[in-house]
């Protein structure tokens, strides 16, 4: 009998060609994103000074002035505010889900987290306009309740699921033997959680927070609808601000394709892309380090 190889051209083509190429699709998309944003945006620096763009504070596109610093500070401010609210909530929730809740309750709350995560950003924006804004305006006696503070609160709820689920994973990864050793010494559950378990999971929690930062910086609709829309550098959380994302979304509808304003918006997009890439890569590295570290410690 002969067991010679039949030539299987079709199979070979499919395997080497189609499947392998699809595997590289993600890389292709990333490169395309980079390329096309640069394509539309880089010409901007032919007509405008990069330094002025990044550091000047006057964003008046109608007068041809594109100092985007206020947009950057707007994004940062809203993000910081959201973290101030989100991190404690996320940590508390993660501790509850991971360390205190019985298995069934844990399951329910994990589903609740997913539900929270799935709510569209435009719905959060609507919530801000119809509820939070007016409430903040009344409570703090302001001109408008659509400001960094309100946006920050809403963003906190959007970042919460991300931070909480990564923190939960980190807590779950702490070896049982550590908890048992602490309890065996007579420590209470709470003491064990806050003195042993949580510190052991801290790098994972940090990674989760960084992912949350990425989420908050990149959020568009909510800030567009709720953050106010005034491009000013300010330390006052109750002031209306503009974020990078909101600016792109709001102004792109009014530009002429190919003109300076249009290109400026693409440049903001590029900056946004680079920032979120950096934040996500960093958190990825941290997560990788934890996973490798855990490998040596797991009981």
């Amino acid at each position: 009998m002969s067991l010679e190889k039949r030539s299987r051209i079709a199979e070979y083509l499919i395997e080497k060609g189609l499947i392998r190429l699809s595997g590289y699709a993600a890389v292709l998309v990333l490169l395309l994103i980079l390329f096309f944003i640069m394509r539309e945006g880089l010409p901007f620096f032919g007509v405008y000074n990069a330094g002025d763009f990044l550091f000047k504070t006057d964003w008046y596109p109608l007068s041809g002035r594109y100092g985007m610093l206020p947009l950057l500070t707007g994004s940062v401010m809203v993000t910081v505010l959201s973290l101030v609210v989100a991190v404690p909530m996320a940590i508390g929730t993660a501790i509850f889900i991971s360390e205190l809740a019985p298995a069934r309750v844990r399951g329910i709350f994990k589903v609740l987290l997913e539900i929270l995560a799935s709510i569209p950003s435009v719905v959060f924006g609507f919530l801000g306009i119809i509820f939070l804004g007016p409430w903040v305006q009344k409570t703090f006696g302001l001109q408008t309740g659509l400001n960094a503070f309100s946006a920050g609160i809403l963003l906190a709820f959007m970042a919460l699921p991300t931070i909480a689920s990564v923190a939960d994973e980190a807590l779950q990864a702490v070896p049982r033997s550590l908890r048992e050793a602490s309890l065996a010494l007579g420590a209470s559950r709470i003491q064990t959680i806050f003195r042993i378990t949580f510190p052991a999971a801290s790098s994972g929690v940090i990674a989760g927070v960084m992912l949350g930062i990425g989420r908050a910086i990149g959020e568009t609709m909510t800030v567009m609808m709720v953050a106010g829309g005034s491009a000013q550098v300010t330390m006052n959380p109750m002031a209306p601000v503009r974020t990078m994302t909101g600016t792109i979304a709001a102004e792109m509808g009014e530009v002429v394709m190919g003109d300076d304003h249009y290109r400026a918006l693409f440049m903001i997009g590029l900056l946004l892309f680079v920032i979120t890439l950096g934040v996500n890569t960093l958190s990825g590295i941290i997560i990788e380090r934890i996973r490798r570290g855990q490998g040596g410690q797991k009981s």
Partner: protein
């Protein structure tokens, strides 16, 4: 009268990366016989079994030297060989029964269909034949559409054997086929194996010496990658020639 060898191994050496797992294995396996590979854990018996149907190809760092000849002196490691056809001629039953999450019928029909498109009537016939050969037909003929995974351990393993013989192989390799089964199922499989000898050649890896003694015609004893002794079963278990063999058989280690 000695049957012609259906497998000839000549100076087979196997490396997993830096590990020299099999050292200079030479042996002939006779057709229509049951050959048992025995030895302590890590001796290489499963690795050698997996060389025979080139399942070691799945592991990246494998290097094999020497010759393994099948049937009419076909070198199974020849690059020009179509390994999928080889595997239809040399089938394998695994340690833990692994039926596909498909119906009982489809589990067996799968092997037939991937070989060549056969008309439904022929497939029906071959499925029935395979199930009969393993003694499952009576038990499952009225529920062929049920999931193969709903079967109990012993039945599931018989399904896997039926699945293997549906491709009409010459050799059936068995990698500790009963170690995950209860004693009664084990006995059923052992009886089945003895019946299979009539039409197939069986090579069985087992860590259970009594099993080897019960069903095999020849036994090969491996230790740390060496083929220590290879003789007819009756001889190996009554008058072992090597001290290591005798030590293993009498339970001094293993």
């Amino acid at each position: 009268m000695e049957a012609l060898p259906i497998l000839k191994l000549e100076k087979v050496n196997l490396h997993y990366g830096d590990n020299h797992v099999l050292k200079n294995i030479s042996m002939d396996i006779a057709a229509n016989s049951i050959t048992a590979f025995i030895g302590p854990s890590g001796c290489g018996k499963s690795s050698l079994l997996r060389c025979l149907n080139r399942m070691n190809d799945l592991i990246d760092s494998t290097k094999i030297e020497g010759k393994i000849l099948f049937g009419d002196n076909i070198d199974i490691n020849d690059r020009k060989l179509d390994v999928t056809q080889l595997r239809r001629k040399i089938g394998m039953v695994f340690q833990k029964p692994n039926p596909f999450p498909k119906s009982i019928y489809e589990n067996i029909a799968y092997g037939i269909r991937i070989a060549q498109g056969a008309p439904k009537s022929e497939v029906d016939g071959r499925v029935e034949e395979a199930l009969k050969k393993v003694g499952l037909w009576k038990e499952v003929s009225d529920r062929l559409k049920d999931s193969g995974m709903a079967l109990s351990g012993g039945q599931a393993q018989r399904l896997c054997i039926a699945r293997t013989i549906a491709t009409k192989p010459d050799i059936i390799l068995m990698d500790e086929p009963t170690s995950a089964l209860d004693p009664i199922s084990t006995q059923t499989i052992e009886e089945l194996t003895l019946e299979l000898k009539e039409n197939y050649t069986v090579v069985i890896v087992t860590h259970n010496m009594q099993q080897a003694a019960r069903i095999s015609d020849s036994t090969a004893f491996f230790y740390l990658g060496d083929l220590v002794e290879y003789s007819p079963t009756k001889v190996m278990f009554t008058r072992p020639q090597q001290k290591r063999t005798e030590d293993y058989i009498t339970g001094r280690f293993g």
